[in-house]
Every structure is written in C-alpha cells, then in structure tokens.
Amino acid sequence: MRVVIAEDSVLLREGLTRLLTDRGHEVVAGVGDADALLKTVDALAADGAAPDVVVADVRMPPSHTDEGVRAAVRLRGDHPGVGVLVLSQYVEERYATELLAGSSRGVGYLLKDRVAEVREFVDAVVRVARGGTALDPEVVAQLLGRSRRQDVLAGLTPREREVLGLMAEGRTNSAIARQLVVSDGAVEKHVSNIFLKLGLSPSEGDHRRVLAVLTYLNS
C-alpha cells in the first residue's frame, strides 16, 4: 500500500512513517503543509502513481486552523480513488459531516490518540485505502447524541445501539463480531433488525451502509 503523510510535527511524521513502514507499507512522501500535500498528490497522480491513501493532520501551517480538512475535501473531489484519513487532536462532528458529504467511500476521521493502538490504527488505514470508512468512536457518539431521531434510537436495544455505533465507525460485520465476541450470524441479525427499526433498506457494501446510517442520523 502506498501512503502519503501530511503532518507538520516532524516527530509525528517520522513516527507515522516508521510505524507504517514497519507494517510493510510504502510511505511515498511526507509533507508538512496542505499546499505541499495537494501538489504532491497531483504530481503523483499525473505520473500514474497515485497513492492508495493520504494520512493528513487537521491543523497545519500556514494558518494552523483547519487546512487538513479543507485539503482532504479537495482531494476527495479531485482524486476519488485516493482514500483520505484525517487525524486530529479533536474530533468535531462538523468536520466529519464535511468529510462525508456525498460519499463515505475511502474516508476516515480519527483522533490522534488512536495511533496508540497500532494494529487497529493500521487496520483503519488499510480500510480507508480500500475504499472503506473509519470514523472515530467519539464522532459517532456525537452523531448519535445529536441526532434528532432520538425517539427511534430509543427503540433499539442496548446491543443494537452498540452495533449501530460500530457500523457507523465503518467496521465490517466480521470486525464487529470480533469486537463484541459474538458470531457473525448474530451480528447480521442485529444489523437487519436495526435497518428494519430505522426504516432503511439494507445496502450492500460497508461504506454504503455507513452512509445510510449517517444520513439517517443527520437528517
């Protein structure tokens, strides 16, 4: 897997590079600001060697505000095939909504803390690179808490709420089953129950169903 890293703290950039290299992925470029990120990806794509995934920090020079999110949104428009994983010290539901606008294909938004769990983090990067979704549990909690459909959500069993949260994070059925230590079949049953209760038509493909869930929560 070919990765481009955009992160202004040299320490973290080196750390991420080492971590991904260690897991057998190729870090093709490491840049320190959003402009450089856009240029690098454009150049790589022009050579026909577009990266599989971009890992970008939110707060970068020159203005140290939300460059990362803006660049990520642009990348998603210009290079739909490139997965974008945004890392930040904070997760804000607003940025999640911006990132997910239109499609949840190949997009991720995680707290920087998550790199501490190396395996899960690398899994998330791989998932995003393959067109999946990786949303931080905190964002999902915010979305669930903020949703105007509290009446319907209240109708879910605690287990179903848990499954809904993991689904919104972008996990596959088998990953959910592993996390909750239940069988794949049990998860499938929960999922179809949830879709039934929310009045959604079951979608194929993990990212499609993430989108369905998120649209539902945001509406």
């Binding site: 939300d66 904070y90 804000e92 607003r94 920087k112 501490a116 808490g145 903020r146």
Partner: protein, 440 residues
C-alpha cells in the same frame, strides 16, 4: 452593575399595621418630617451665601479677582453638598455617592485648582441646588408644618379641650362667631367628629410628608450625586478589575489543571518507563507489563490534555466560528439540543469566546440540574447586540442569585456590558437570555 448609591434603607421593619394606617406612627415619617423642618433654615443659609458669592464673583469677573471668588463660592456650594448628602443619609435614608471631585492637573498649583473647580459640572450643579432648594424649602416647610400640626391638633382635640376654659376663656374651638353668637365645638358628638377629621388629616398628612421628602430626595440625587458619566467611570473601572481578575483566575486554574492532571500522569509514566527500561533484559515479562501500563497511562494523559485544551479554547471556534463550535458543545450535552445560529458575519474573537463559554456553561447547567428532555440554543444579532437564548423544558426553579455558576456568568457578562436574564418558574420551562455588545 456598579451602583453609586444603594437602595433606600428607611423602610419600617415588618409593619403589623397596613402601610396606610401605620404611616403616621412610622419612624420614617417622623424622620422625614424632621428633615423638612431642618430644610428651611439650612437652605436659607445656602441661598444667601451662594447668591452673594455668585453675584460678587460675577460682578468682579471683569477684574481679575472675580474668578477666584467665584471658584471659592462654588467650592462652598460643594461643601453644602457634603452637609446635604449627610442629612439625606441620616433622615431620608438615601445613600447618594460623592460627585466626581474637581481635580486639578498635577503641578498647576492654585490656578489649576481654581480652573478645575470652575470647569467641573458638578460644582455648577451644586450651585443650582443651593439656589433652587430655597423656594422649594419654603413651600415644603409651610405645607408640612401646617398640615402636620393641624392634623395632630384636631386628632387629639378631646385630650386637650379641658385646657381651653382655663387658659383661653372658651369652652372649645370656636368655628364661627360674630360677637353675639358663637359656634363652639363642645358637645360629645362634635368632639368625635373633630377628632375623626383630625385622624383623616393625620393619615393623609403622613403621605404628604413622604411626598415632600421624595422631592427632596430626588433633588439631592439629581443635583448632588455623581453624574451619569462619573457613574459610568466607576462602573467601567470595576468592570476592568473584574475582567483582569477573571483572566488571572483562568490562568491559575489552567496551570493547576495541568499540574494536577497531565503533569502528574507524565511523571508516573516516566517512572514506569524507567523501570521497564531497567527490567527489559533481565525480566522481559515484567517489562512488557510495565510497558502496557505506561501505554494506558499515556492514553489517559492525552485524553486529559484534550479536555483541558478544549476548556481553554476550542480549536473549532477559531476555525469555523460559533455555529460549528456550539454544535459540538450541544453534541456533548446529555439532552438533545437544537442549535440555531443566525449571524450575518463572525463577531470579534473575544466576543465569540464569551458567547461560546456562556452557552457551554448554560448547557452544562441544563445537563446537571434541569432534568430536561430537550433544549434549544439560539444566537442572533439585533442592532449592535449579540443575543443568546438557551431554553429547556426542565423543572425550572433556576435562581441566578444562588449557586456560583449563573452568578459567576452574570458577573462575567456584566463586566463587558452584557446582560444575563433568567426566567425560570418552578416547574419550568427555563429561558436564559444573554446579551453582549456586538464587536465585528
């Protein structure tokens, strides 16, 4: 709000009689009567002295001497003001603050002082008081003395009628007489009627005294008190103090949070790692356990630092403004919150910050105390004010004077010319409205 004077303190304590009955006997009425009595002689003195000084000063103004004389006269009027304010405090219970002093520029000596007294508006207002108060005092004195003494005399007539035959040679008060016939109040019924009329007069007279005293109070407050501008200066000075203190307290709190939170955790982490480093070769299993502990520790430290940083200044507020930042706050509230922000443009960073912390404090209150099912937050602009309204359908009964949360918030808002209004009847719903001056 910084007030230059407190509320009147002359109210009778828990009257057992209804106010309209108790008034003639209330200490307050008698104090005010004394005030009116004293008013005439004093104001005659003020008038005579100040008019003389004014006339002499104005007359001599063409020569050089007039100006200091005038200044001296004005300074004297300021002296009268001191006496009058003390008198109003003692008899009327009305606490009027000292007006702004006439302060000379440093180093200008006597001429500076003269000039300062002449230039100060307060001096001239004192002069106006000295002149205006005399005619008023004459009216007030005559009315009060006549009505009050007549009223009491009639009311107590049955008690002192016995002295009339002894000293005046009549059997009672003579209402009408033309030498041959006289109509004298001496029968029992007449006594009763007279006393009854007296009672009515006493009851009414008390309120007359109070009315006259109220005019005096207004005169003192309006002419001898600090001007609006001076009051504003006092208010702003206290505001600035509050802002400085709050900022300093914020910094101390942050330092303490850092110290007790992340720093302490990092020290523990450093120790764990130090041990793990030592054990790494000799006891790899123990080392692995310590690394695991350290790993948990560092995740907690990150979590703490994140919460702390968000409490200091949420990054999303700088990046995206109030709408996005308030949505984030709302999503962390324990009850569902609808946020509506309707602003044509972003206000100044400091205003945004205050608005943000106001809402986040109010929503915290909702989470903690309101037992609500739903809350709404609305932010909009009217003219040069930024308005914030937070409502919830909880149990109500929020009291801004009790509890530090709302009171502290009100103080913070007050310090920047903001207003906090809480409407929270028992049983709800609660509406809190905050108003801030708009700065773009």
């Amino acid at each position: 709000m910084a007030m230059a004077y407190g509320p009147d303190t002359g109210h009778p304590r828990a009257p057992r009689l209804p106010a309209w009955l108790g008034a003639p006997l209330a200490a307050r009425t008698w104090r005010e009567f004394c005030h009116l009595l004293l008013g005439l002689p004093l104001s005659l003195c003020y008038f005579a002295l100040s008019v003389t000084a004014l006339a002499v000063g104005a007359g001599l103004v063409v020569t050089f001497v007039g100006i200091p004389v005038l200044a001296l006269g004005l300074a004297m009027c300021r002296g009268f003001g001191v006496v009058e304010r003390a008198r109003a405090r003692a008899f009327l219970g009305s606490r009027v603050g000292d007006p702004e002093p006439a302060r000379a520029e440093p180093g200008t000596g006597l001429t500076g002082a003269v000039w300062a007294v002449l230039k100060s508006g307060a001096s001239w207002r004192h002069l106006l008081y000295a002149v205006l108060h005399m005619p008023w005092a004459v009216v007030a004195f005559s009315l009060a003395v006549t009505v009050w003494s007549t009223a009491w005399a009639l009311f107590t007539y049955p008690l002192w009628r016995w002295s009339l035959p002894l000293h005046a040679g009549t059997d009672g008060i003579q209402v009408y007489g033309d030498g041959t016939r006289a109509y004298v109040l001496d029968s029992g019924a007449e006594l009763a009627v007279t006393s009854g009329v007296g009672l009515v007069l006493v009851l009414l007279g008390a309120w007359l005294v109070r009315g006259l005293a109220a005019v005096d109070r207004a005169l003192v407050r309006g002419l001898l008190g600090p001007s609006r501008l001076a009051t504003r200066v006092v208010e702003l000075e206290s505001d600035r103090g509050v802002v400085v203190d709050v900022a300093a307290a914020d910094l101390r709190r942050i330092e303490r949070d850092l110290h007790d939170g992340a720093q302490a955790r990092l020290v523990a982490l450093a120790m764990d790692l130090g041990l793990a480093k030592e054990k790494a070769t000799e006891d790899p299993r123990a080392a692995a356990r310590m690394v695991e502990e350290a790993h948990d520790e560092v995740k907690l430290a990150l979590q703490e630092l994140r919460d702390l940083a968000r409490g200091i200044h949420p990054a999303i507020l700088t990046d995206r403004g109030l709408d996005a930042a308030l949505s984030a706050v709302a999503s962390r509230c324990t009850v569902p919150v609808t946020v509506g922000v309707d602003l044509p443009e972003r206000p100044a960073a400091a205003v945004e910050g205050i608005a943000y912390f106001t809402v986040s404090e109010l929503l915290q209150n909702v989470s903690k105390h309101a037992r609500a099912h739903h809350a709404t937050v609305d932010v909009w602009r009217t003219g040069d004010r930024l308005l914030i309204q937070v409502t919830d359908d909880g149990r109500g009964g929020a009291d801004p004077t009790r509890g530090t949360g709302l009171a502290g918030l009100a103080e913070r808002l007050d310090a920047v010319d903001g207003v906090l209004a809480v409407h929270s009847p028992e049983g709800g719903p609660t509406t809190v409205t905050a108003e801030l001056p708009w700065r773009g």
